[in-house]
Symmetry: C2
Subunit: 463 residues, 2 copies
């Protein structure tokens, strides 16, 4: 009476789609839009392309209340014709598993959005893409959820006369636009704040057109894949590096496969671990690998992780984005120096804006970003919320309830410690919490200066 | 420069172990204990066995501060010798994927605990088990994380002279007992509250022995696997039922594969969907399946889901458990009638205890349970917290800050809408929220009666 079963990752997320954020039609519609838009922004950023993202949501039933067709089109690097079925039809398959900052990270999101459309409407989805070569590939696909494999319903190849490069994804799904609309519009607005170099157009089911125009003509340097830092590995990762390395002896293995380890450091670490530097690395015993990782922890003199895997938003972009959307009368933006948690580099940016187009509000308005993704749910579970509600003494900065104050936080890392697959809240790692606190206090000090100047002026007027 | 990769589910949870609750050594130690204890309780409940659970945590390094060996032994139904490697060494493999209430549900937890031990200590784990037959199987295993497969390091078969039946799991892991200890002890205490028929012994690294004795000699009726309810399916599930059914025509398919559909109801639903009842079910078109699911939604006259898939804690067990641990001076326990959300049955139980061994506290103490699992983290994200902080007008029930009040909530369902794989908070489905509100208000009314009686007595004394 005990029956064992194995299920595929697609089946796991199908049965437990709450875990991926697809809990009800309004939230699921939001998730579909964000997962596809984030894929499009990744595809432009990795190619250092100024993003043009076009999103349309059309009614797919007569009442226009329950079923919608979502189309997302971008001018990104496109997907290889041969790769399209697996990229969009397989869970835990993607191009973002390397160690560098990216919006995507799990290999789940885009596929989940298309899977959700499939299970609510029983219709295939369409992917059209080209890398700018001679051909445009068009697929109609469904997902074999039990097997976690794509099913090609139709495949056409078109000649690419104009050498178009980009991707179009179209899916029909059950949603609830009237409930979801405020969050969807906030998502586009916040996306525009941290991507002021993007043209974003959203056409909604009622035909309303929302345009966010590019205000900066720059594309940031994309992050580059990095080697692991010795403080960021465990025995499993070291065993995999050993299995794949071309290095012969342990010393050159350390120098070649890790960042921040030169020949001298390698010798010192190996001495601490009691391992002969000349020993063939593929001959290391179980015990020796464990001692090596332990020696990494004890060595204590590694330089901080490299930052080439990072691509922060940047003070200039945050200023341009906040000004373009909110026209605040006061604005202060801070980018902290890079830091790290558990051997993983990260950088925190923060901004405080006051007045102008910002509405007075009972509670401080918080815009949260992680890897340039707007986070709109689970605010109370997020480390940024914890910082602004527990670590900042707002009255000491002259900030009272009901003031028009907006705080922006941005965390960038090749590995953001999200709390859920749905990427809505960031865990309160002590190092991240500390960096956010420093950044927000710095902005708050600037705000206090501004507010006292206003006070003085008001006092002078009265006299 | 775009490199596609596919990763296994074990690799996914290895890279993102935060998502499964394994975020730092203190929390990971807690997770290992709970995942193994919950597996043991499932193994006794499914066999209707009075649980004897023995847990020992021993220091595994000289200081006793950082590495521990955890052993969990139960008298449950055991695991078949041939099944042991996959059950413990493969993620998304388990015996709890059927539609009935169980503590386990994802096929991840126990394997994750053992995986965590492996990556922090590079040592194999041990599983010893017998189903009470002639043999006891003993395995030393590791997990091939990249392939999501077990690696058998050693396998011994012992004769089972005394016909012992049960399972022993032993793993060495990095932890932080001093930080984790309060939560671990609360976990055992809360487990004893809803399992008063269990003998639980916990021996900690300092040699302290914590005993929770059985106070009820009953084993509840285990839940039974049920057929899906028409309101609980989508086209994917219907397509799978069609693929596996032995039924010939659509009408008998509906009657045989679903609960709450008799021949007459089947005819009415098929009329609504515009499908001929005599049609061969395996000939149904894409469109017809979609119309069938739509007709389920519109029919509106299905009886509520069956409750044989449920196994609530029970008023008697909750009373016995709370009295045994807290000896309150007042106690009121409520079990609501079964309800359902999205075609999935659930039952809510609640209790309010006052005084006795309950400490006065600034905020109301909340003990949360889902499928008899104590939930100790993410309180503010949980639906029970939302109800007691937003839906109950405590002063109107004479409850003031600083009173010794404890609220217990228990949600049981074949599918609890957990927010995370780490099972710490339940989503606020409206139906669940409403049932919790009703249950707690009923207990609060009883408390108000008791508190006013106390007031009267105090007033009488003064005169
Ligand atoms: N618009 C697009 N342009 C180019 N490539 C894309 C696009 N959308 C998806 N892809 C490719 O498909 C892969 C899978 O996408 P998916 O969203 O499922 O996972 P991911 O983005 O890697 O991770 P996450 O689950 O965090 O979103 C991506 O890694 C990317 O290579
Ligand atoms: N102590 C035990 N006694 C009997 N069977 C066990 C025991 N521990 C684990 N198992 C078996 O191993 C399987 C896998 O356990 P695991 O904890 O990984 O997943 P699960 O319990 O099914 O789901 P969850 O991830 O929600 O815990 C279980 O389904 C069960 O069949
Ligand atoms: Mg993605
Ligand atoms: Mg389990």
């Amino acid at each position: 009476e005990v029956r064992f079963e194995e299920i595929s990752p697609a089946d796991f997320f199908y049965r437990n789609r709450d875990l991926a954020g697809f809990s009800n039609p309004a939230r699921s519609l939001y998730m579909c839009i964000r997962e596809l838009v984030e894929n499009s922004l990744d595809a432009t950023e990795v190619g250092r392309i100024l993003p043009n993202i076009w999103v349309s949501l059309e009614s797919a039933d007569e009442n226009g209340e329950r079923f919608f067709t979502l189309t997302v089109k971008d001018n990104g690097i496109g997907v290889d014709g041969a790769m399209i079925p697996k990229a969009f039809g397989t869970v835990l398959y993607g191009s973002k598993y390397g160690f560098k900052q990216s919006r995507g990270t799990f290999g789940v999101g885009g596929t989940m959005a298309l899977l959700y459309g499939q299970i609510t409407t029983n219709t295939p989805f369409t992917v059209i893409s080209s890398r700018g070569g001679k051909e445009i590939h068009e697929y109609k696909l469904m997902i074999d959820i039990v097997e976690n494999k794509p099913k090609v319903i139709e495949h056409k190849v078109h000649p690419n006369a104009k050498r178009w490069r980009g991707t179009i994804v179209r899916v029909t799904l059950e949603g609830d636009y009237s409930t979801s609309r405020p969050k969807i519009l906030s998502y586009f607005e916040m996306t525009a704040v941290v991507n002021p170099n993007a043209n974003i157009v959203f056409v909604d089911p009622k035909g309303r057109v929302y345009v966010f125009r590019r205000v900066i003509e720059k594309a940031p340097e994309p992050p580059r894949e990095g080697k692991p830092h010795p403080l960021g590995v465990d025995v499993e990762t070291v065993n995999r590096l050993i299995a794949n390395t071309k290095s012969r002896d342990v010393r050159s293995f350390l120098v070649n496969e890790f960042q921040r380890i030169g020949p001298k450091t390698a010798e010192e670490v190996l001495k601490l671990a009691g391992i002969d530097p000349e020993k063939r690395v593929k001959d290391l015993t179980h015990d020796e690998v464990t001692r090596l990782v332990e020696a990494f922890r004890q060595y204590g003199k590694f330089r901080a992780p490299e930052t080439s895997t990072l691509s922060p938003v940047g003070v200039e972009f945050i200023e341009a984005g906040l000004k373009s959307i909110y026209r605040p009368e006061f604005l202060h933006v801070v980018q902290r120096p890079p830091s790290s948690y558990s051997g993983i580099p990260f950088v925190v940016e923060a901004a405080i804006a006051y007045g102008g187009g910002i509405e007075p509000s009972e509670e401080i308005q918080l815009l949260r970003f992680a890897n340039k993704i707007p986070l709109l749910y689970d605010e109370k579970a997020d480390v940024s919320w914890k910082v602004i509600s527990e670590r900042i003494d707002w009255p000491s900065y002259k900030v009272q309830k009901g003031m028009p104050v907006l705080v922006l936080t941005s965390i960038c890392s090749p590995k953001v410690p999200y709390k859920t697959v749905g990427k809505e809240a960031v865990s309160d790692r002590p190092e991240i919490e500390r960096e956010l606190t420093m950044a927000i206090r710095e902005c708050a000090r600037a705000l206090r200066l501004y507010l006292s100047q206003i006070e003085k002026r008001e006092a002078a007027k009265k006299r």
